[in-house]
Symmetry: D2
Subunit: 229 residues, 4 copies
């Protein structure tokens, strides 16, 4: 990666203490960005005001929003967990774009990268609530991304799976023989991504090198999913 | 269509007074189905109990759930309209599958057809809230559909666009020259579908002729969208 | 299936002695179609003339074209096998549509259903030559199908995988424990399709019940692939 | 772009005098690569031997293969033009991967980026021959890319459309009012890409920053296509 590729760029990273937050903050700082890292979930509308105060005019935003995948068969999905997934991951994504897009449009440029999931691209049994919420994010990115394209604001998503992170792939799981077998069988590349590899894709999408890419949901899953869906 | 293709099959149609409800009820009855048509939105959990009372052991369900597309640029999406779309279209879909799938599994067979939208397959600017909600439905159908596949319960979606219905394409709109030009330009087939054509696809997916099709989101849009996304 | 759904319709089935030919001929005759079954590969341009002579004005065509999947790692693909796949499956598909579409356009209606494969929708290692050829077919169906849409000629594909047929799934393979385990692991529905189930989808696409579906590649793989790609 | 991002890397660019060849050669040299640029079409098997002689051990290959889109309605496609598209774009792609993948596997690493097209992702009427050939390329990249993933060889495609290049978008076309209107209507971003923007994506896929991306067909079309298909 270019040491100074984001030199002087103001970047806002949300829920920076969770999911892809820590590696993205580290990677973007390494690339010279002036990163505002805001930890915590963004459930309430007021939390978005906090973002705006913390970083009123970002050049780029990494909308990192995560809640546990909470695996359940459909018959056992609880309303509370369903609502939590949508409250933590879906509505805040819309609110972030709603809050910051007008300023980016006014300034004539902006980048928003949503860290979502490849899970809905193929569909994962016993994870349908999570797939629904991540699918809502991906669909929003596509539609809003096409809308913002003409304004020189690029909104895209990193739809990842099999990226090493403590939230979804704790070492205690990864080290089991069962997991390693499943990895060998299901993931063509045969390994988990290092978190900084996903951060590198986010960095590309946040840089001026990808201005023609808009409204796109980029699968990042070592070949587990290569098509959108 | 075969006159008696659904002869004697108990079919539950939700929100039967809206969107694709009326043509589906008509078409399925013509095909011999014993249709229970339940009008009205299904926002509350209690509304699902009403469905179960009305039709405790359906052979097939048409999960027809709709709210207006409410076109707005991202900057003008209101929380209330966003929540309405998810409350009317997304959470009820999960609750319907959650309520009826166990019985279908116990009886060894079942069909659920969700009437969704092709909008999220391509993404439509100024309609991102609607695309997000329909995208959540499609992603849920894929994941839950794969989960239920082995139980001989087939859950699929008709992802339609450009189907003539009063909710989205009132005659007052359709008859304008502007609309006809847009149709000619954007829809390869150059016309709207008649509602009964969409009902025919739903009927195919609710019949025993499609038992190998599971977790699938079928574009139905006259060529406007042919790929999933 | 409706006994007389294709009553009196002239249907041409190509390479009728191979792949999906036999079950399609049987199913379509059962549905009342006047089927012209033409056996053999269609490598030469002259072979297409033979089709036209055999059935000059078909209402529907099932373009069933197949050659063995010939599994090889990329390093061992031979030019001859590569060319055979394209000569048997790809060029003839174009020539069939080229030969018959003008007549269908002149008569104001027509149906063409290509029996292709879901393999390119996900990509199968050690089968890349076959995936390339089937991918060419699917891409041709999409583009030519959109072109013909306005003429009331519907061209679509059944992109199948895991359909029981002697060419790809001989009983000697299917009965092995290894195959059954792989089926349980990779195919959500957990079984092979019966050939007549695929024929039922072809019949739906060849009938007047699917006039709004154009240029579409329909995955038919028991959940192994549900998205296009 | 990082000045030295490909410092010292041996890169082979095929058909370097056509399509995306010139901007890729320029961009990669700017990034420090040791570029071997081989002009001319690669129709014969012997042409591949020439590539191997010119650059026996490339770290990365940009498989740039192009022939004119030759717009024709299906009824007017000629065998000669069909065969030319496949001879120039499709078979050579397989032969390039076949010739160079074993060495990359032996050396433990390698990158292959195919410059293909987004045309087959949506399907373009009156361009079905071109869509078929580009679709074959994309399908081959997906399957072979998944096969090579475990060997630390990354094969991916840039599926572009609306990229300014003399072959497909000569200035005489671009400057017409008709073209500009069509651009505004069909391409969400509302402009053509500069060739170096596409080269930047190719560079990302040829660099060590994208090692987890395999078998992927990346749409690059300013929002005209965002999903694979």
């Amino acid at each position: 990666m270019a040491a100074g590729e984001l030199e002087g760029r103001r970047v806002l990273v949300t829920q920076s203490d969770d999911y892809m937050g820590p590696p993205i903050v580290a990677r973007f700082r390494e690339a010279g960005a002036d990163v505002t890292a805001v930890p915590g979930r963004l459930v309430d509308a007021a939390a978005i005001d906090g973002l705006v105060e913390a970083c009123p005019e970002p050049d780029a935003i990494v909308a990192n929003l995560a809640a546990g995948p909470s695996p359940h068969v459909v018959a056992e999905i609880e309303d509370e967990e369903w609502d939590e997934l949508f409250d933590v991951m879906v509505r805040p994504l819309m609110r972030i774009v709603r809050a910051f897009a007008p300023g980016m449009i006014a300034r004539g440029a902006g980048k928003i990268v949503a860290m979502t999931s490849a899970a809905p691209l193929r569909g994962i049994p016993v994870t349908s609530a999570y797939c629904a919420a991540r699918g809502a994010q991906n669909a929003f990115v596509r539609a809003a991304g096409l809308e913002l394209a003409r304004e020189n604001v690029q909104l895209n998503a990193v739809a990842q799976n099999y990226v090493h992170n403590e939230a979804y792939y704790p070492d205690s799981l990864v080290e089991t023989e069962r997991f390693q077998k499943s990895l060998a069988r299901n993931v063509p590349i045969g390994r988990l991504a290092r978190p900084e590899e996903s951060a590198d894709l986010a960095l590309f999408l946040a840089s001026s090198r990808s201005d023609f890419i808009v409204g796109q949901v980029v699968p990042f899953a070592g070949g587990w999913a290569t098509t959108t869906g």
